[in-house]
Symmetry: D2
Subunit: 357 residues, 4 copies
């Protein structure tokens, strides 16, 4: 009953195997090797377009360096008030972003809405840019921190507003695979075709050891990523160890297979919660994350029974998203290795406890 | 005949195996896992002292974050003019170091001498700190970029000078294993016992995929490493993937076994070069690196014959270290997988070409 | 009828005169001169305590360098959502603050409340510092951006909370003189006696050309200000030109005399607005700033009649502070040179336009 | 007998007067005022070309923000090893330059030579830019730190090399007026006509309180200066106080008149030293600075007699520039207010002491 986080899982056996296979032999360092070239080609194929891909160590680095890539002095970025970049990256956007300031936008279900973005931008008119800074980038998390997923139209609506202000659009894709799996669309549909300029393409949570890439769809817009990556200490010498993981994940759609499994597990969990009288979903389950208002006493009993799951605080949440006094908002995350048995045991505990009241 | 770099090698089979074994099962993320705890303990044991160890993605990050850890505003660092941090890290010390300025010191055989450091420091008296900045750290590469190795006494002599100016001492240990293997000393002898405060402990070049740690010997001197690592995007979520590599390397002295093999290969190569009339050693061979002045025409023939080795420029080298007009200074690096056959083939080519002239 | 900003005014004749008197003769550069020593002593006397004072070019620099002085890697600062540092300094806190992230707190009348600060801090528990960053400093604007003034007790209540979390307290005193004049207290009462560690002591808006200082009440808490000021390019060579202004302002309480005149002018303006049927005060007038909801049509007529005053947008304002549909929130600022005649002309225009409807 | 530095002088009476005249009346803040517009026009006229001019607080800020303006991630700047930016600005180029690394070039008489620059650049081939960083800017001090002056041809020769590598050319003009006065050329001749892209135009040492501007000759090359200046806290609110000084200096060539007086005083001093048996010029006197090897015993006697002058250390100086064992290299600086009497008294002391031995 471990729903703590998808980065608690190890790695898919296919990834482990691919890494072992890449272990022997000499190859140029710093990305000059064949694996890296092939992985970049596989990413391009995945997105239906020639892209630039820059491997980095973490999703935090991918996000912060992406934002930096489109942010000059005085730049202002925009993101949801609960976004990972806003609160969970220890100040990386400001530091790696060389002074980038993030402005937070509240919105229901973890999403930025067009109205929310327009309102936020209204405080940064071009005429005040000399003093307030210049809007440079909007960042969407896909999947969001609420476990919800932007539709292609929703992404495009945000991107249109950004374009009007000459801003770039970044997507934090730490759980990109889960969003694609949920939507059943092509990766291109929610990225460059919808107006996204840079993607933090994360396959670590999805089932790799360490496979994060900054994917740049229009190289002209972000000419300094390679130099900045090096200067931030994120250019791996043995680049093939990331590339081999990427290749294993993308080959034959393994990444979507893993995401599909995780999403299905979350759906099973969500369905059980909806059927429970002791918990209710906080937001629709659209990925591998389930958020529920759980009776606080029940949550404690579940934790005592060995379930790993965390309370979840939200900043600036609309009233309709608040927990009741006797409830606690709780996050549960499934991963590729989550079993039905694990979920059923959890739901039984939820029910048993229920009946034992 | 691939002597391009030790990071061209893949990984030791033991490392690959350990990683595969760590692949399954749930474990806390961000370093809260058992592997990370055990790896830190293994590092402490290796150094004969309780240390703090912070895994990061690259040696560049380990170096720059180490320097940053002991460098406030206006800090001045000191290093050899050919140090990796001085010229090969794309400005990481200045960027991750939040404005750190490095001052370069020339010195024979890739080493800083006490006189060299004293002379450099003479330009930064305390009375001028308000204007010139404050000396904060001296960084030694062990192994140096010339393939040479500081003795414990040499390290201590530098550290004594640093201590007199209230400076910290950092060691760039990208090839630390090779130095330890060469000296046959305990790791402690050339680090904290000789006055080193922070070590970039690199096992990647040594035979891992990605196993770099900032080792802090006196935690009180560097209280912000964890926060800075996070802010720089270097806190791995699946920390066990580095920890498992570290454990495989340190267990049973595997890291020194690998370094010993690489050093022996380099010695064989160096001996052959010394015996050749077409090349001569530039610096003594004390690690897995061999630097030689090779007749330029010969170098071209060797490269044409399939040998991978690079010309090597030096900044501020004393006259006695210069190549003659018809020579080119050349770097050759052995790694754990370098074979005697490979070396002999190279030496034969050196000889054959010689005789065929 | 110029109420655009207090930095639209020139300088007090006494300041101009003092500067002329300081023009001749040789004196050590970079703050080693007598004027600078005397000005620092005058600041110490003003605050009833030995302080360190660092002149810088602008209030923006004073604020950002103050915040930086108490903020290490991953630091989180807290301020009101309408604070100057939050929105009007072009990202200086993040840049000069070397990656500082600011968290915004809404609150009525431009003030942070203890509850607001506690709530904001609840999202940054110590246990999550490794990921979210560490609360390092809370910044209060005294006078606030709403023209209101914290009482000594209000400052102390905020500082108590900060102390509990080992945070520093910074005060943005761009209009510090106006607050002191309004409260009729000693400068010490709303600074170090109430728990403030660093003050951006601004006399430029008050009537100098350029007289801004970072005042550090407890030097041990901020040991790197001098070095950081130099590294940020804020150490004036001819320091006496700031010192002479400081001395002229502080001598005989000239700074409070000027602030008193500006405050009185604002009070006269506020009283007239309260008596008007076409405008109403948005917040109480406690300084030299007046904020009013003005009928939009009237505002346009006033501007057409030559009045300089600006619409004022607010982020995250509680409902009770919002303008009605036919109104515009407007800012009017008096300065030391504002005349009664100017105010009366404005109020007449407000009335005439009123009667002519 | 005060030859300590030209920033020990106060200000020219004309500057003081102009500032007093600008003291009264309201004017837009942050550079929207008439004075600032007129000063920018006067700078354009001075350089015979429409320029952008950005006032900042100090020469350090002007230099670092200029370098930053043309330096992206991984940028490498080049300067003389004794340049002010290299050693006397407390790390500002690295900090305000957002991670800029400076490479030092030695050269005789304080100047970079074309060969010196070519050699330094040879260590930064384009092919290694991914690792070593990309050469972005070369910075020349005009007047140099050795008091010498580049001819227009010398500047152009450096700029040609820079152009070949797509680098920008910056000029540190802290003593620009002295160079122009010495050469008798138009300001354009040693700036944009010779290939300079950005100039730190400093009039503070020349006789103002605080009058430093970043002058951008080709705005397209440096689009972010305004935003970066704001973010660094260098946008003055009462911009007219700099503008008024600029106008007073440029009007009727007052700046060159002052520089001419300072240069003439230095020439008188240099001539006296050349005639002395106890001191000899270290470098030719081409500005308001005189560098001499003075017998150490004599130097002490002069200082005891009340002369202000400083020993001067040089890094990486060629042998021919070294002092003899019994000598000390000494810097003497004249300013606009230096009197013949002061110089003659000094020279007499030099002679008297001589004869009295």
């Amino acid at each position: 009953m471990n729903f703590a986080s998808d980065n608690w899982a190890g790695v898919s056996p296919k990834v482990a195997e691919a890494l072992s296979e890449a272990a022997a032999g000499q190859a140029p360092a710093y990305g000059g090797d064949d694996w890296t070239g092939r992985a970049t080609a596989a990413i391009s194929e995945t997105f239906g377009r020639d892209v630039e891909a820059f491997f980095v160590a973490t999703g935090t680095a991918a996000n912060a360096l992406s934002l930096a890539a489109v942010s000059g002095p005085g730049a202002i970025g925009f993101c949801h008030s609960d976004a990972h970049i806003a609160i969970d990256e220890g100040g990386a956007p400001a530091f790696l972003g060389r002074g980038l300031t993030l402005t937070h936008i509240t919105g229901p279900e973890g999403k930025i809405t067009p109205d929310g973005l327009r309102d936020a931008l209204s405080h940064y008119p071009d005429a005040a840019a000399w003093q307030r800074g210049r809007p440079s980038v909007v960042s969407l998390a896909q999947t969001t921190e609420a476990g919800t997923v932007y539709t292609p139209d929703e992404v495009a609506a945000i991107a249109d507003i950004a374009r009007d202000r000459s801003m770039a659009v970044h997507m934090d894709g730490a759980r990109f695979a889960n969003a694609v799996s949920h939507l059943g669309c092509a990766p291109a549909d929610i990225t460059w075709k919808a107006g996204v300029d840079l993607l933090s393409f994360g396959l670590t949570k999805n089932g790799a050891w360490c496979a994060e890439a900054i994917v740049v769809f229009d190289a002209a817009k972000a000419p300094h990523v390679a130099a900045h990556r090096k200067q931030a200490g994120h250019l791996f010498s043995k680049s093939r160890f990331v590339a081999a993981q990427m290749l294993a994940m993308l080959e034959g759609g393994h990444w979507l297979e893993l995401a599909g499994k995780a999403n299905a597990a979350a759906s099973r969990l969500a369905a059980g919660i909806e059927a429970s009288s002791r918990a209710r979903l906080a937001w629709p389950c659209q990925s591998n994350e389930v958020f529920a208002h759980v009776e606080t006493a029940m949550l404690e009993r579940l934790q005592a029974a060995g379930a790993h799951l965390y309370p979840w605080s939200v900043r600036g949440a609309p009233d309709e998203e608040a927990s009741a006094a006797h409830e606690t908002r709780t996050r549960m995350i499934a991963n590729f290795a989550t079993t039905d048995a694990e979920i059923d045991a959890f739901l039984t505990a939820l029910g048993q406890n229920d009946s034992s009241r």
